[in-house]
Amino acid sequence: MQRIYYIIRKEFKQIFRTREMIAIIFVAPLIQMLVLGFAITNEVKHVKLIIADRDNSFASREIVRGFQNTDRFDFLGYMNSNSGIKDAIQGWEAQMAIVIPTEFGHDLQRNLRPEIQLIVDGVDGNTAGVALGYAQGIVRQFSQNYLNHPLRRINFKRIHLVQQEERMWYNVNLDTAQHMVPGIVVVLITLISMMLSAMNIVREKELGTLEQLMVTPIKKHQLLLGKLIPFLVLTFIELAIVMKLAQIIFSINMEGSLFLLFSLAFLFLFTTLGLGIFVSTITQSQQQAMFVSWFLMVFMILMSGLFIPIENMPMSLKLLTYLNPMRYFMYIMRDIFQKGSSIQYLLKDVIPMTLYGLIIFTFGVLKFQKRVS
């Protein structure tokens, strides 16, 4: 017991000796959370827009006004020629162009269903898709207003419509941060626990101090415990800080039980610390360790559903996500935060995650022993 304690004390001393390390453990996650929490949004504003109004009628000006009265679009000016539009979009000056054809107003009145053309720069996919959606919405609004105008009002007696009334559960304000920030917390604790523990163990190897530790009477499990407990503690402190910050900065609601969350985080950390040990056994230098764990991180993040919902993936990739321990904790974290799920609904994630953790952890420990002896 006392030996473990000494190693733990040594580790803490070592961690806190470098001033940068403290900054890394406590400031870096804050920066990451701030950047990610605010940056991950699919909203689009100030799309640079040019309009070719070739009709210049009352109706066409009405449409132009619709685009001017929103901060979604920045109306740069009129550009009637096709070549001018092409130059503007290719030369990065405009992102979108709207072409209102000649005789638009006339055709509208004669019920010829004139066609408005929306041209969008497709190099930035997200912006293009979202901006197109906004623009279509504005044109649709114009059409709706046109239909509902008292002079043209159609006979509503014959019409019986079904009206959609939607309720957005769990996120009434459609606030992206409520969904993303719990996910980012998962990434942060994985990063800290896996990368730092792997690099820390390899560092002893690289500097040759691991051999010195081996000739001391410390047993392997004592050595490992002494190495891992500090990172476990650090990760939990980190988790607490990050969650508090999330509540303050992003006003994230926590619907579920904090106790449940921390208990399940403990189970999850078996996986990440186990991976950390595993990585340390297959690498010789910190550079390698960092590289291998970074590789694992990228794979785990991409396949966790953090950015790309797992439901959207093709079947083959969907199956692949079951191999990803982060997938399970991502669901758990988000469900506890957003839906307040209790353990009974999470068992289908908790069980594979725990099994996973035990297997990886045992495997890592066994592999480590072989190396040491």
Partner: protein, 364 residues
Amino acid sequence: MLAIARKEFLHIIHDPRSLMIIFAMPIIQLVIFGYALDMEIKNVDLAVINYDNSIQSQHLVEQFEGSEFFNVFVYNGGIDDMEQLFLERKAKAVLIINQDFAQSFQRNISTPVQIIIDAADPNAGTLIKNYCSQVINAFNQKYASQPALPSEVESTIWFNPDMKSAFFFVPGLLALLLIMICALLTSITITREKEMGTMEQILVSPVKANEIIIGKVLPYIGISILVGALILVIGIILFGVPFNGSYTLLFLLSTLYIITALSLGLMISTIASTQQVAMMIALIATLLPTMFLSGFIFPLSAMPKILQIISYIIPARYYLMIVRGVLIKGNTFFQLIQPTLILALMTFLLLIIALRRFKGNLET
């Protein structure tokens, strides 16, 4: 200088695992991004609670069943237990048809149907909502003689008419991987010498500081050019990404970006004292902003002002514009003069500061 380059090169070759990862990583990312990053959701699980067993309500359900967006199933549990569906993640949305649906539909101008959507992920929630209105609109046009809108909209997406995700990700990955190899790896390899004390050994040898730096980074320049070419070739062959501009232009401007990244790496190595620190700084100063503040995945325009301002000093922001411009838009140098100048200025400043700091470090 060449001797140092050779030593560094041997050091890299000596470690085939890392080398493999350097080349495997972009391929895996490319494949995942290329295939998985489909923002369109299909087969949304939709539960139906139908209290009105009329032909009309049946028609409505059929309309949903006929849509490719939804996976419709009947839920017999009733409204009170419906939350179970969301908690067990069995449904993303629930359609509730009231008892008097058919009656009301025949009598009234408008008849409400309720759709409860799991909006925990607001993007998915909004998409599902829009899909539902599309289906209901189609239903109304078919059964409720709703008049069609008086004008039509034709949308054209230039440069990427099919909205293939590879078109966005190949340029983004290029920017990301180059920064990762050049900034992250070089900063760690230089810090490593410091940490191991071998830097001092090099110092007592008659090699000049500039030679040390050039020798150390040369192999990484080689690797990054290879990886960059690999990404481009895979993107073009496997995912049909076009190459509309000039090869020379892209090569020259990529070299500029590589120098930017190397200067960043050098800078980091002068700040960090251990490899762990170097790695963390590199992650925060290069990878994170390259992924999130360059416009690679998430649009910059709706971010808070402060992040937008920060994005102006992120090299990847300009490089991304250059790669997208050359590859996809077929831009000429003249059209890219602005991002090129900014990138060049940035590199110049970074390089000077980093070199000064590096030499200062050596002398003390």
